[in-house]
Amino acid sequence: MSANDSNFRAEQSAGSDDSIQQVHAQLQKQKPEKTDGYSMLPLVLLGLMCCAVFFGSIYLAHFSLRFDPLVYSEHANREKPGAVKVVALTRAQMGKKVFDITCIACHQANGLGVPGQYPPLIASEWVTGSEERLVRIVLHGLNGPITVEGKEYNNVMAPLGAALKDEQIANVLSYVRASWGNTASEVTPETVAKVRADTAGRNSYWTAAELLKLGN
């Protein structure tokens, strides 16, 4: 284009609207004549469409993970729901929650307690020892001096028998017995229920001396 003024002169149309519609309507009905290079087009397009549909479907099938509404990760396990064992929480895992609410204030998240004030739970003979003795402490609380791992503590632990159910006590005790290096066995709700029944009439704190005398 030559002169500058042609830049802002309105452009002329090269085809009327009428003819645009007529011509294209005709074209829609007829395929172009088969000249070299054009007969390939429909085939190529067909091929492309098939590829796209193929890849798209494979992708959809592979990554939709059975259209499971609760799966958010495309790397999730692709086996059928039945085949995957539902990972049941162990008592220890469920007990952590109770611990985090009830016990953590004194015994601390790392189980070390507070020196001189609250005894540690790590490698504590009271924790890893007798199950029933431990349940008794939780149910009715502990008062007075107690020796844990060679150190003496003299404080009050509140009774939790009313606040926690058997299941919860079993879980939290299983948790402390299996954490921070402790490797003692689980505590079952049945054990807790039994101890609760055995000590039904009691409404006072235990002392360490009493518990040691009771043995296991």
Binding site: N4, D17, V23, H24
Partner: protein, 479 residues
């Protein structure tokens, strides 16, 4: 009777009937383009100069950025689309736009709604859902205004004098229905009877993707399909594929909204379905490219010297680029890096600005002399507008791609403190501000020319346009 003279009279009647509604919509649109552009520029500045306008509650970034976006999309975008769509429907249906007075009411309602909406966002009534931030009460006003416009477009179509329906008409027809349905359903599912939990972002993603790909893209494609044969004098190449492309494109695009939710806490089949849809979209895009580039082949010189076609060319290339970007962002590995970065925002910008807005600019340069009977007064301003737009699009695409990639890598580098990322990105935020400023400059140039050609007082001294009757398109030489 001389058939070509008849043709011309009819066209002049059609253009005369459409003149004032189209001019009014364009005027509102350009006003919003400017206002929204300024707000967008201010919001962009806040990203690298956070103290800018931060003291005032009305201009805090969280309100200014969505307000700017809504002003641009519903203010500029919709008004421009209304103007173009109504004119095109009238022309291709070979019938006048009847009772255009109602369209003034529609324009008034629509723009009042947008003003209330944008003002509402700035005042703190934002709903915070992308592109649905305008306060609830505005939606009824907008839908009522749209109903008028939509009914006009469809009625014009239904009383058409032509036997045949051209490709551009399919796109405008489809869009005319898709927008109100998308908008109404989104309003109901998010605000009237809100769905629970993460379904809300799913509805939002469906709406946003639908708005861009079933309203704005069809308008841009309608422009491309119309202006290429119109200005090149040559039929669209391989036109028999056009209807296949249309259906393929819209059906697959409608499903692709889920691809905006990759990695989100939604059931994984939703983004997967979106990704599969994006893979399929590519075929539609390829066919449309065959149509449009086939038409251009052998006619590039003519296209480059036509102002309208230069804009349309940017629009078509951006359409293809946007589809490529959608596909790239659907690749999970790539998405894991560039999600939530500037690159993510680039995808939508490409569709809305680089594809749709440039098509509307091109259309405006063609339509306005025919409606007003005047020439454009300043060639320099036109050059400025086109140059700014072309350069701006190029800079934005290249710059933000690189910036987004860097940002994504930094975000995923867990050892890097967040403030370090911010410091590293401040150059790119500033870059983005500069490019937005450049684009705004081009818009100001366009607005000036518009005022000179369209406003009755200002255009007295503008030269009249001489428009010849166009010849009939011929099938000869159609290869």
């Amino acid at each position: 009777m001389n058939p070509s003279a008849n043709n011309r009279t009819e066209q002049m009647e059609i253009d005369a009937s459409a003149k004032w509604p189209v001019l009014v919509f364009f005027a509102y649109g350009l006003g919003w383009l400017l206002l929204g552009g300024i707000m967008q520029l201010a919001a962009a500045m806040q990203l690298h100069s956070p103290g800018f306008l931060a003291g005032c509650e009305w201009t805090t970034h969280g309100r200014l950025a969505p307000a700017a976006q809504n002003a641009l999309v519903y203010g500029w975008g919709m008004n421009a689309a209304f103007a173009f769509g109504l004119w095109l429907m009238a022309r291709l249906s070979a019938t006048t736009l009847r009772h255009g007075g109602w369209l003034f009411i529609a324009a008034k309602f629509w723009n009042t709604g947008v003003a209330l909406g944008v003002g509402g966002i700035l005042a703190g009534y934002s709903t915070s859902f992308e592109l649905l931030e305008m306060p609830r009460f505005v939606s009824l006003l907008l839908l009522a205004a749209y109903a008028l416009v939509g009914v006009w477009a469809i009625t014009t179509f239904s009383i058409r004098n032509t036997e045949n329906v051209y490709a551009s008409q399919w796109y405008v027809f489809g869009a005319a229905f898709w927008f109100p349905w998308l908008y109404a359903i989104a309003q109901v599912m998010l605000f009237k009877a809100p769905v629970r939990g993460v379904l809300q972002p799913v509805v939002n993603a469906w709406y946003v993707h639908g708005l861009y790909n079933l309203w704005f893209v069809p308008m841009a494609l309608a422009a491309a399909y119309y202006f290429l044969p119109k200005l090149l004098g040559k039929p669209v190449s391989n036109y028999y594929l056009a209807s296949l492309a249309f259906w393929w494109l819209v059906v697959t695009s409608a499903f692709a909204g889920g691809s905006r939710l990759i990695g989100a806490p939604v059931p994984v089949w939703i983004p997967t379905m979106g990704i599969a849809a994006n893979i399929l979209v590519v075929v539609g895009v390829i066919i449309i490219a065959i149509n449009l580039f086939g038409t251009l082949s052998g006619r590039f010189e003519a296209a480059r010297s036509s102002l309208t076609l230069r804009f349309i060319l940017i629009s078509i290339v951006s359409f293809i680029l946007a589809a490529v970007m959608n596909l790239a962002l659907s690749m999970r590995g790539f998405a894991a890096t560039v999600q939530f970065t500037l690159l993510d925002g680039l995808r939508d910008w490409l569709t809305f600005y680089a594809c749709f807005s440039t098509a509307m600019f091109g259309a405006a340069y063609f339509i306005l002399p025919r409606l007003t009977g005047k020439e454009w007064r300043s060639g320099a301003l036109i050059k400025l507008h086109f140059g700014a737009t072309a350069l701006g699009v190029l800079l934005m695409v290249v710059g933000l791609t690189y910036a987004g990639w860097t940002q994504g890598n930094m975000l995923n580098n867990a050892a890097m403190p967040f403030t370090d990322i911010t410091k590293a990105m401040s150059f790119w935020f500033a870059f983005r501000t500069v490019v937005l400023g450049l684009l705004l400059l081009g818009h100001v140039a366009f607005l000036l020319n518009f005022v000179w050609i369209a406003c009755p007082i200002n255009s007295q001294s503008t030269a009249s346009a001489t428009l010849r009757t166009p010849p009939a398109l011929s099938l000869e030489g159609h290869a």
